[in-house]
């Protein structure tokens, strides 16, 4: 029930702030903050409660399962369930949700009620995506988060916002509709095979699909997820949307919306179409590597700070796709780590870009420089997150990228080597941020204020979590261990000799993933 309450609270909070925003501009802020705090606390408590028992479960990785009939004539139910991966991403969602509310506290002065309404409804949509285990419901939430995001970019964005909002919406909607086709196709194939017409994920697992059809259906799902992720030829919406969105919008886009793509691949593409995914793997990894290098190069050549950070996302998401299609536990653990750490590090960079914009009224890094002397606190934190972004040991991103590369090395040596080169590029662009923004000769003589108390709280939370993840990532790894383990077992390693015996922390469980219900 906690799941449905949380979505209800988010949507209700959104409506409440919309209505009360007519009278008071401060009220929506507090309502939004309370709403996300309640959700965050609820999930953190749930996580702590479950943490010790999480790995004792052997056959059932699902912690909560809530089901209610919705459109029975189609076999559609309001079916929510979470396992370790969902739980982790939900905690992340609410964590970033709190930050998003905080960092737009003074940023947004007009139509405050409608702003927080959109913000909370995006979070509701994203939470729904992470919880839904009915494919129709999943698609429903997938689309629900688009409209408020469109408004967020289109109304509160910067100069070129309308174009960016269109592009974002049309890219994601087009790819989403192809996924809808694939979902319906899968529904009918399963229905014909078994006589049970249902959108229930658990029942659709293990549907016997003729290989050539499976490939097309998988592509339908894949296209929606790789546009969201994004993978290189489909990434063009991302720099526009990220750079034009308001700070909280960029934070949510980079931190959460991109993650829904990766989550979709992990949750749906791999388990539903294992053979087809296996066939696609070399290509997907290749595009991942291209994304890593291409994103890094483009990122280096940007002068707009937010665009620069946006392209680093393209590069980092390349690692995600590389790791997912390596199909082994190491890489998959790395992927999950990457999802969390990228959300935190890139989110922090976007928040800082927003703060700089607020103070300097520009995003052009050529107009910055030497800011360290005026804002030593922000300089230090900026340095830290630039280091996190380039994968410095001791910070979360290092663990993630290291695990991904380690895992991918077993799957494809050549591509992994090329991906590793991408790390060098990431060092270059990250150092360039620090160099251009905080170091060098000072461009300005006017007074620029350093962090306010609210900003210190936001950045402290981010800093603590990225350091924590870098030094002690075990809680994250433990939480998703079982899920990743199951996933990796769908794909037996081809070369038995190099099986990952040396990674002792993950017990190899013996059960099959494709258990028929």
């Amino acid at each position: 029930m906690i799941l449905i309450y949380v979505i209800g609270i988010l949507m209700g909070g959104g409506l409440l702030s919309l209505l009360l925003g007519q009278w008071n501009k401060n009220l929506p802020r507090w309502i939004a903050l309370c709403t996300v705090l309640v959700g965050f606390i609820a999930f953190v408590f749930f996580w702590i409660n479950q943490y010790h028992t999480i790995n004792l479960r052997l056959t059932n990785t699902w912690m909560i399962d809530y089901r209610h009939d919705w459109i029975p004539s189609f076999g559609i139910s309001f079916h929510l369930a979470i396992d370790g991966l969902s739980l982790l991403l939900l905690v992340l969602t609410f964590f970033l949700g709190i930050l998003a509310v905080l960092c737009s506290w003074n940023d947004v002065k007009e139509r405050v009620g409608f702003y927080y309404f959109n913000l909370l409804w995006i979070l509701a949509g994203i939470s729904g995506v992470f919880m839904a285990v009915d494919l129709f419901l999943f698609y429903f939430f997938w689309e629900v988060m688009l409209i408020p995001m469109y408004f967020l970019i289109g109304i509160w964005g910067s100069e070129n916002r309308v174009y960016a909002a269109y592009k974002f919406f049309i890219f994601t909607q087009a790819s989403g509709l192809l996924m809808l086709l694939a979902i319906i196709g899968l529904y009918f194939i399963h229905g014909r095979n078994t006589g049970v017409y249902t959108f229930n994920y658990f029942e659709l697992l293990g549907t016997a699909i003729p290989p050539h059809i499976a490939f097309w259906l998988m592509l339908g799902f894949m296209i929606a997820f790789v546009v969201k992720l994004p993978i290189v030829p489909f990434h063009t919406w991302l720099p526009d949307a990220h750079s034009e969105a308001p700070t909280a919008g960029s934070l949510i886009l980079a931190g959460l919306l991109l993650k829904t793509g990766a989550y979709g691949i992990l949750r749906f593409v791999l388990p539903l179409f294992p053979e087809a995914a296996h066939d696609l793997a070399p290509w997907a990894m290749l595009f991942g590597v291209i994304g890593i290098i291409y994103g890094a190069i483009l990122s280096y050549s940007q002068t707009d700070l937010k665009r620069l950070i946006a392209y680093t996302s393209v590069s980092h998401m390349g690692f995600v796709i590389l790791g997912i299609f390596a199909f082994n536990e190491l890489a998959l653990q790395g992927v999950v780590m990457q999802l969390v750490t990228h959300a935190i590090s890139t989110g922090a960079l976007f928040i800082m870009a927003g703060m700089l914009k607020e103070r300097l009224h520009t995003r052009n890094i050529n107009h910055m420089g030497g800011l360290w002397t005026q804002m030593p606190q922000m300089g230090a934190i900026g340095m830290l997150f630039a280091m996190a972004s380039l994968g410095l040991p001791g910070l979360g991103n290092f663990i993630a990228e290291f695990l991904i590369l380690l895992g991918a090395f077993k799957a494809n040596v050549l591509l992994t080597i090329m991906a590793t080169i991408g790390l060098v590029f990431s060092a270059i662009y990250s150092l360039r941020i620090v160099q251009k923004v905080f170091l060098g000769p000072s461009e300005r003589s006017d007074y620029i204020s350093d962090f306010s108390f609210r900003e210190i709280v936001v950045m402290a939370a981010l800093t603590l979590s990225i350091v924590w993840l870098g030094l002690y990532p075990q809680p994250v790894i433990n939480t998703v261990k079982l899920m990743v383990n199951k996933l990796a077992h769908i794909f037996p390693p081809e070369n038995k000799n190099v099986q990952q015996e040396n990674y002792q922390e993950i017990p190899l469980s013996t059960h099959k993933y494709l258990v028929k219900k």
């Binding site: 919705w70 004539s73 689309e143 629900v144 408004f151």
Partner: protein, 479 residues
Amino acid sequence: MSGNDFFALTPLILLAGSSVLIMLLIAIKLSHRVIQLSSLLLFIVAFSSLIYIQKLLPYHIEPLLVIDGFSVFIMGLIIFSSLVVNILSYIYFEEKEESPKEYYVLLFLCTLGACVLAVSKHFVSLFLGLEILTVGLYALIAYLRVRHHNIEAGIKYLVLAAFSSAFLLFGMALIYLETGSMQFSMIAHSLTSLQSLSPLFLTGLGMMLVGVGFKLAVVPFHMWTADVYEGAPAPVTAFIATASKGGVFAVLFRFFIMIDGFRFKVVMLILICIAIASMIIGNLLAVQQKNVKRILAYSSIAHLGYLLVAFIPGSMMSIKALSFYLMAYFITTLTAFGIVTVLSNKETDAENIESYKALFWERPVLACIFSSALLSLAGIPLTVGFVGKFYILAAGLQSGFWITALILVISSVIGLYYYLRIITTMFAGQKSILPEEERANPVFYMVSIIALSVLSLLIIWFGVYPSGVMGSMEYFKLK
């Protein structure tokens, strides 16, 4: 005719009688307000009479009419949309026209014609219904005599409708020549043994499709649509877009189901081509438009294409998908044109997209209603349009029509662009171009807005919880 026949025909008789009654009321020089209210009342009576005849279903009145679940549903939609059009008409015509009263007589007649289409199972009743509908529409379209566009639209519709009726008649004659009957079931009977159609029958069917295609405004018979939509008074446009198309579509579907035209490859191919062309061209043409009424006109072409996607399989699911989508389309289109009507002023309709600028900040309620309608037309979740589109895709894919489903998806992405453009305009800018004017009839203005709010609530309610309506469609059968 027996008593039961009369009972089954109550809705039609009520509609016909209402038009006479309104004419008498006009004769004794009652005010516009009284006429409008009494016609509203009569529409409600006609609508509720549909509930009373439920227990008779299915009921055949040989050889012309059949009253079954499907036709009652379609009649319900038609009468409902006339009712909404009727509500919206008061403020629209009150300030523009000195003698708006005869309008209501025509509205009843058109509604009657559309309802006859929905229940007919014979070429004669089909043609009668169609002519009652179209002749009424000639006058309705050109009702605002002083506007240039109005006359142009009226003439255009007159010429093309007459032309298409001729095609339809000739097609029927050819089919009659071939099969010796004008009754759908008899035609079906003479076709049962055939594996492929004879050239004569095919020509007849083709000509009928041309005629019906004109009425439905599917590509390549769509040329008149934008001009007529633009020229006609906004409430009349709403009526053309919904009731008149719904009735024609219902009878076309009944005809195809009864003669089982879905097994003939050639016919299917033609229908698939029409569907694909309508979806793509309708959406593409709308992209360039700056006039909201024209955008909605082209979007209605595309929506008829979507309907054909569900039509083509001709399966059990098709009936349900079509019924559901028609309902979604009716509610949504009425809402959209309702907003255009409410925003129109004395001189011009609110058709220029610029006049919607900053609507979100000036009249948030209207803007929200319009957005819900546009999002529903675009097929975004939480709205009834999404469920409808899902239903259509499901109907198409169930029978393996991947091409049409794929085209539907691609073209609806194009469609998204222009719907979003209207929404973007509504929240762009700070000041409205529309001057803030005193409403002559604040009460009726409020009533219209309340009616539109109810419609937009329906859009969201059926989008979130469609199973109730779907359940009532379970038992629709046409054969």
